[in-house]
Symmetry: C2
Subunit: 252 residues, 2 copies
DNA sequence: TTCATATTTCGATGATAGTCGAAAGATTAG
DNA sequence: CTAATCTTTCGACTATCATCGAAATATGAA
């Protein structure tokens, strides 16, 4: 019988490019069909089926049968967190086409992270709420202030419902693209839902990137004092283009 | 040119059993030589060298030359955190020998997690400090109370030095074996160092598991009201033995 | 029922990558 | 200097596993 190394088995679920792509699609926290994931990863349905079987068996994803479709999603917030932490270590993506360039910036500008808002906009909104004394950041968590509670209730968020959820309320989540914290937990989720309802942001098909609507830009500015602009061509900003370097990585 | 998926590349570093073993050895946060890691993983030095090259290139580990030795260690606390989060998802280890049984329990009883204490003892100590109002736990972090500051200073810990470090002070770290939080960050590190100095715990060779000395048992009891006993044969406790199950893992 | 769609199972293939032996490079001890 | 030790480089072998075609299964539509 062969020796098994649990850590390696867990990592093996994500070390394969096709599986990694599918999982990144699943990072939006929603259900996706097997075929949808196959197309996203650029593989045939039978291959995708094979991968999804492995991932459900290891309890990384869950499946729900509904008619002739099978809907897959990540099985837990811990799984999503684990993947995000891997993304923090992962090397930056190499840009080889204009399409990839656009995607690179779109996903960094605004995206969903499991069930809350992330990217430039996610971090900016979090920091704006902190500056407005809606949130307090201490160590690695956020706290909703009394003032903040009133503000967010006025904004249309059911804070007490979010507090009752059996999960973290205002967790800190390290944003892999911004390398700073954004708000997660049930409060983060509630805010994302509210932003979608208000149509300040809109989900885009086939991607976790989300679009900030014109109304959203106005709203973010008026309510949170946020100037939300997507400027991928800002010559000062990070274009995502990296010189090829070989690093030996030796210390001292 | 081939397309790369950064997430997959990061996961690939850990998906190989030999590499996973080496990395788990490195989880103690200290330096290890290439040969040491090769022996630990049960492979030849040239294979280990090959793996270590890959891991340094991806910035998961760092290397420091010193004479004819090369000392390797994890490159960052984030890397350690990422690995720990993978361990939370990883399937439980299968026990096949008495030696493995002992190791299974030793590592769960008390171990170092990067640079702080983890396992049953790590979690128990953290919770004892919380119960003694040395720490306050709110959301996903800990706070040192005024009383706690005095207590720990009396215990011989330089709290102000720990506060000055450019890293989290009292982070929550999810313990993969206990599935509960233990104290991490610079304070967690300072406490581990103090426990080692006092010889309440002792490092063991070739493992991250640590031993609680007789003096340590008395000390934990007197200072923290902790009854530290290692009882791997407790019939009520988790023996680590799992029935073979096949799970289809389908919902509803 | 019959057809269409979604998904899985099976089997074969091919590429990737972990492995080790041999040998060279680097550094210290004597 | 020479010998010994630690580590890396090179080359070849081999096992693993992702992949897809073909076909089966399951469900819904007509």
């Amino acid at each position: 019988m062969k020796e098994t190394v649990p850590l390696a088995e867990a990592a093996a679920l994500l070390c394969e490019p096709s599986r990694a792509k599918m999982v990144q699609c699943l990072l939006d926290g929603r259900f996706h069909t097997a075929t949808e994931l196959a197309v996203y990863a650029g593989i045939t349905p039978q291959t995708a089926s094979h991968h999804l079987y492995k991932m459900t068996e290891c309890n990384l994803v869950q499946v729900k049968k509904n008619g002739r479709h099978r809907y897959y999603r990540l099985s837990s917030a811990e799984a999503a967190q684990m993947i995000e932490s891997l993304l923090c270590i992962a090397p930056p993506e190499k840009i080889r086409s204009l399409k990839q360039f656009d995607r690179y910036h779109a996903i960094r500008f605004a995206r969903t992270c499991y069930d809350h808002l992330a990217g430039k906009v996610g971090v900016a909104l979090t920091e704006a709420m902190r500056d407005l004394a809606i949130l307090e950041q201490r160590e690695n968590c956020f706290y909703l202030t009394e003032k903040g509670k009133l503000c967010l209730q006025e904004f249309g968020i059911d804070v007490t419902a979010a507090l009752k959820k059996r999960r973290s309320f205002a967790r800190c989540c390290l944003d892999w693209s911004e390398r700073r914290y954004h708000l997660a937990g049930s409060l983060g989720h509630a805010i994302l839902e509210r932003l979608l309802t208000l149509e300040w942001i809109r989900r885009l098909p086939h991607t976790r990137a989300v679009q900030v609507t014109e109304e959203g830009k106005r709203g973010f500015s008026q309510v949170f004092g946020l100037d939300v602009r997507n400027e991928p061509f800002n010559p000062i900003g990070d274009t995502g283009i990296r010189p090829e370097v070989n690093r030996k990585g030796e210390l001292s």
